[in-house]
Structure formats: C-alpha cells, structure tokens
Symmetry: C2
Subunit: 426 residues, 2 copies
C-alpha cells in the first residue's frame, strides 16, 4: 500500500496477484534472477508458505518475504491460516536487535495475528476447524500459516473483521492491564499517555472513556491532532514541554502516567504524578533511534535510565511500575489472566464501547514501508499486514534502497535453512 510520506523500499515493480484468495493453489509468481521482483499473496501448496523473514539484526534491508516449510500443529497447538498480522513498535526493536536476549536470526517476526483454524493438534479443546481466531505468538506471526498453543488463542467476536482482530490483542490487552490491573483506574482520575495516536494510545483513550469522568492527556505529532482530538481531553504536540502543559491545566499532576519513551522521561513522569499516582513504563521507543547504530544506542539508552530510590517513592507516595505483555505471556506464563482480560475486552467490543483503529493495511511484501511508517510515527492507529493483500505497484524511481538481490538467491529445493534464507521478494 502506497501512502503519502512513506519511502518506498522496493527496487522494482512488483508482480501482483489479483486474486489473493485463501486457496489459490500454485499461483505464486516467483521470479529468479538478480533484481527481479516476486509476486505476493495467497497460500502456496500445502508444504510451503510465504513468510516475512528477518535475516539478521539491522535496517530495513534485513527484511524480505521468503518461502518456508509449512508448519504442522504439535500437541496442544492450533494451525491457523493467517489473515492479518499486527505490526508493533516492538517489531522494530526486534529488527534492530534492541531487546534483551534477542533470538537467533533468521526468524519470522510478529507477535499477533488473526485467521481461521485449519487444523487441531492433539488435546486441543474449545476450538473447531473453521473458527475465526486471534492469537499471540512468540515470533512467527508474519506468515501465511502459524501453529499456536491453545492458551494464546481467542475467538473473534462475530462483528470484528480480521484486520481489527489483528489490531486488537497487543494494544488493548496492554492498555487494559496497565489501566486496570496495574494502576486501578477509577472514576474521576486523570491519565497521561504518550504517542496518543498510536495503537496503544488509542486503546488507552477508548478504555478511559468507559470510566466516568476520566481526563486523558496525550502527546502526539501535530499533524495527527485533527484526527484523534475527539478521543482525548487534552492533546499536546509531542515536541512540546508536556510537563509544563500538564501542570498548567492540572497543577497537582495526574493519577497515571503511561510512558512508552524511556530514559529522561522516567523522572519527568514520576514528577508529574499526584500522590498515590502510578507511573508505568511499558515500552522504550526512544531506543529505536536509527537504522544502523542500533546496538550502541540501545546500550546508551539502557544505562542512562534513571534509577529510582524507593525512599523517594515513600516520601512522595508514588508508584512505579513496568509492563511488558510479551514477557507476561511468554516468560511469566500468565496466560490465564490474559485470557480473562481478553474476555472482558471482547465484551466491551460487543457493547461497542471499544473498537480497534486500523491505520493502514499492507501486503507482506510491503513490510519495509510499513515499518518505515511506524518508525516515522506516521501512523494513526494500527498498521496491519494483510496476508491476502497484493502489494501496490511502485514506480522504478520510488527506489530508496540498494537491492541485495542475487546475493543470496538459491534454488527452492534446497534444505530448510536454505529455504529460510531464500529471498522470495526482494
């Protein structure tokens, strides 16, 4: 999908498969040869599938679409034919290796998806083939098929589209748990959220509107203000001195600060809290600072984070918390709690009190442009990879990146590792 202000990262025109249906059997258009573009969309045969591959940590050029061996469900897993995947800021951090204990590359990125149950592993209860589902995965979302343990899968409400369902789990569970599990949001409270135009920001704004008389302060790039101003009480430019702006309106500060920035903002955020207020660090988007200097800037940000003396919290009656949904799910095993939260959230969706805001849909082959858009903070709401979508044709002069095509192309019949490294679209 071509969007204004997004740099095009593909070198050549891409072949488009017009009929991106579920079972287009053998219609893949893969061209060998240096510099050639491949065709996207559609499921392949039953032994292979398309997936976005991260070949190593670094810039956008580490991403490509490739073929991978079709996964089959193990005991307790569901095989899901993926319809749509969520693209989150954490995916940019993964791409740069800016996470604790990064996994080995090559890998298929992505932590959430929606789709249709295609097969059930042994001992899977509560789901049937054909069910519309959304799921968290620990990588491997950005593919045509994913196999997911049943504890991470949730049924999609009837009225929710696959795109909405791919935009739902990460942002709304994160927002809900921060507001209601960690911070205990109640009537009359006030909340400050950064990146108010992003997926979590919009989920926070919507969930705050379900509680009477909650004041929501937000920061966002000025060009987004017109689009999102209805969802917040007070909106500031992201480059403004938000501490001064908030204090001008609410001299006592706010009850909850949700901080996805990190670094110098921790002190600012704690300083803005009312007594008994809660500061929650839920991400660290300041760490993604550029295309190449990732490791250095990561380490720099990490060590610059201001440590906090518990006695200061005691004197000021303040609460400091961190929230990482992925760690909660995949390191700390709190799937039961998250399931309860998903139940509450689907009820709120069915009551039309919340609704994921989708910014734009992108083909798997457009993942670089999509990432660039989130990196540039161009999005309002969630970016979705639509697995069945065909890439938008690009003009040759849209190119901004030197192709690595030809360097790694190999025969499709090689072993698995070769298949994973094989560029499908470059």
């Amino acid at each position: 999908m071509a969007k204004e202000g997004v740099e095009k990262t593909e070198e050549t025109e891409q072949m488009i498969e017009k009929d991106g249906g579920k079972e287009p059997a053998e219609s893949n258009c893969v061209k060998g040869g240096g510099g050639g573009g491949g065709g996207g969309g559609g499921a392949g045969d039953d032994k292979e599938m398309r997936a976005v591959l991260l070949t190593g940590f670094g810039g956008l050029n580490k991403l490509r679409v490739s073929k991978k061996v079709m996964p089959e469900p193990q005991e307790g897993e569901l095989k899901i034919r993926v319809k749509a995947c969520g693209l989150n800021f954490i995916d940019l951090m993964v791409r740069q290796g800016n996470i604790d204990s990064p996994p080995k590359t090559p890998l298929v990125p992505g932590f959430e998806l929606s789709g249709i149950v295609e097969a059930l592993g042994e001992n899977v209860k509560g789901f049937e083939i054909g069910d519309r589902v959304m799921a968290f995965v620990n990588y491997n979302a950005w593919a045509e098929v994913a196999c997911v343990p049943v504890d991470f899968v949730y049924k999609i409400p009837n009225e929710m589209s696959f795109s909405e369902a791919a935009a739902f789990p990460m942002n709304f569970v994160t927002a809900y748990m921060m507001l209601f599990e960690v911070a205990n949001l109640r009537e009359g409270m006030s909340v400050l959220v950064h990146s108010a135009g992003g997926g979590v920001g919009q989920a926070v704004a919507q969930l705050c509107s379900t509680i009477p008389n909650v004041t929501v302060f937000g920061t966002a790039s000025s060009f987004k203000h017109e689009a999102i101003k209805g969802s917040l009480t007070h909106l500031f430019d992201r480059n403004a001195d938000y501490v001064q702006e908030v204090k001008r309106i609410s001299p006592d500060g706010v009850d909850i600060v949700l901080d996805c920035l990190c670094g110098e903002n921790t002190g600012k955020g704690l300083g803005l809290l009312k007594s008994l207020g809660t500061y929650i660090l839920y991400g660290s988007s300041n760490m993604v600072t550029g295309e190449t200097k990732s490791f250095f800037s990561f380490a720099k940000s990490w060590w610059q984070v201001e440590k906090v003396n518990p006695i200061k919290l005691y004197e000021e009656n303040k609460v400091m918390a961190g929230f990482s949904l992925l760690n909660l799910l995949f390191k700390q095993g709190r799937t039961g709690l998250v399931k309860d939260v998903m139940d509450k959230l689907t009820r709120l969706y069915n009551e039309k009190k919340i609704k994921p805001l989708v910014d734009s849909l992108w083909a798997l082959e457009e993942v670089k442009e999509a990432m660039q858009r989130i990196h540039d903070r161009g999005n309002i709401g969630k970016l979705i990879l639509d697995v069945e979508k065909a890439p938008t044709p690009l003009m040759a002069n849209d190119s901004t990146e030197t192709s690595e095509a030809g360097e790694e192309e190999e025969d499709h019949e090689g072993d698995n590792e070769n298949k994973e490294r094989m560029p499908f679209i470059q």
Copy 2:
C-alpha cells in the same frame, strides 16, 4: 503499666493519683526537689495541660511530662479532651531525629488520638461538643488537650472504646490504603507482611481476612507466634530466611510485599514478587538501631537503599511503591481520600470484621517504658498512652537510667518556654 520484659526507666517510685478522672481540679501532685517523682493523671486547670515533651533528638532521656499552655481552637479546629493516644514506630524515629526535615524541639510528639470534643472553633461543621472522636494530628497528640483541624477528625463508632480508637487510624488506614488503594488486593492473592505482630501487621492480617482466599505470610519474633498465629496463614521467625521460607511454600512468590524494614530488604521483596505483584515500602524501622548513634545510622541506611532500574520492573512486570500516611495527610493534603477510607473502615468495624488489637496501656509518665517496649519489639498489637491512667508504681531497683532530675526543674510560674522545658515527672 509494668509489663514483663520491659525495662523500667524511672528512678524512683511515682506518686499515683487514684482518681484519674476528667476534671480532678487542682489535684496535680508535682514535687520539687532532686530525684522526686511527680504524680500523673487528670486535667489541670483550664490554662494548663499535661503533655509529653521531647526536649531534643536522642534517647529516652529526651522525653518527659511537662505542663503546657492550654491550646484553644482556631477557625476550623476542634478542641479535643484527649483520652488516649497511639504510639507508633514513627514516634521512635521522630525521637531520634530520623525523619526528613525534622521539626524543631522542644515538641510534643504523637500523630493520633481519641477523645471528646470540648469546644468548636469558628466554621466547624458536622461535630458537636461531647462527640466521641478520633483524629490525626501533625504532632501534639500526647497531651491532655489537642486542637485539630476538622478535616483530620472522625467520629468513633458507638461500640469502639477510646483505647481502640487511638489504635485505629494510623494502622488501619495505612493497611487499608496499601492493600486496596496502592496494591488492589483481590480474591486469591497472597501477601507478605513483616512485623506481623505489630499494629500495622495485625491490621493487614484482619483486612486480608475480609477478602476470600487470601494467603498471608508474616514474620514476627517467635515468642509472638502463639498469640498471633490464628491471624496469618504462614508465620516465620523474624530472623529466619523468609525468602527461602516463602519460596518453599509458594515458588512463584507472592502478589504483595509490605515492607517496613528498608535497606537490603527492598531487593529481597522485589525478588519475591510474582509478575504484576506490588512491593510497598511503608516504613523504615531498620533505621532505628540504637539509642545514640541515630543520625549516623540514619544516613547510612538511607544511602544504602538499593535504587531500582525501571527497566527491570518492565522486564519482570513488577510494581514498586512507597506509602507514608503522614505525608499523604500533612504534605499532600489528601484528607478527602483518607476520610473515605475511614468511613469504609468504620463500617468494617461495625460489621465486626476488624478490631484494633491493643497491646497495653501506659500513662503519659510511662512513655519511656512504652517506647522501649516497641523498640524491643515486645508488643503484640498497639501501644496506647492512656491520658487518664496513673503510672504504675516502680520499685527502686527497677531503675536502669540515671535521672536528670534537678537539672532543669524550675518554678511552674515561669514563662511559656520555661514551662515547656520544665519537667513534670522525671
């Protein structure tokens, strides 16, 4: 009140006023002369009152009972004839000067009291003369009369005694707000509380019992176990390795850690939390380490406190909080919120779900022994200064302290400052 295991700090036998009633008019028994004890109890004339005076920061010898000018209520204040006062660990810290921005001495210590409304300042609504009340004060509790702004005064439930009412505000509001305002205690959770035999510890245990299926781990000196074991699920000796003990029973840790210790325990407490768990530092009794080395040990404890990196909280999904009720009331002005909490607590008291546990009653003249008892962790529940109680006679050989009697005795008819410094009982 003489208790087993409590050192006696008075040198000589004390005169006892048998009829410690409210208006014993001019019955004070003050003896001049070196080494002579004075008689306690009873209100004096309407221009003077008895009060405990802290003459400077340091050991027990800085405390004495003195006469002070009778206070009169200003606009918005109630004049309260005090019946009983609470003695808290913070009072020991005040005595040693172990608090941030200590006030000037001489001062009258004490932060909570119960009594009867004797007069109303202008513009006081909601109270009448004769009302039975309990109150927070910012010092000046340990006296026969206190004038208190109306926002800090609460009516006593009919069935609650004055002793219970003096044991109620600090401990139960602190426990309630930590469990329900800061940490959001819910069914099925687990709580670790140190000093489980103290006033806050017992309030925590009782409040936890109002929520279904809450597991309470506590630490306390072994000799208290028999008395308090019924109020906790698991009880460990205070010198045991509680981290190991808790993990043996609950390998995943606990949901809430309430830490009144400070220092090395912050890291231990955070380490014991489940994901989404809350560590609350609500006091720092480790800071009171001895009679004389107060300032040094204070500074040492303060700087040794382990600072916490917010990113660690993020990775582990943990919450770290501090809670100081006195700061909340007197620095941060949250009297409305505390009033709401007191309303909830009095309902729970009337429903017989909670009841303050009083350890012992002491005359004002026995404040040193009472402080020694709390310092030695001899108490089970709350120590109360009973303003109308007469001191228990002591044998001459109970003495453990060199009297300063005679050094500062002056005529009662001196100016105010002299009155304040004048020993009433030594």
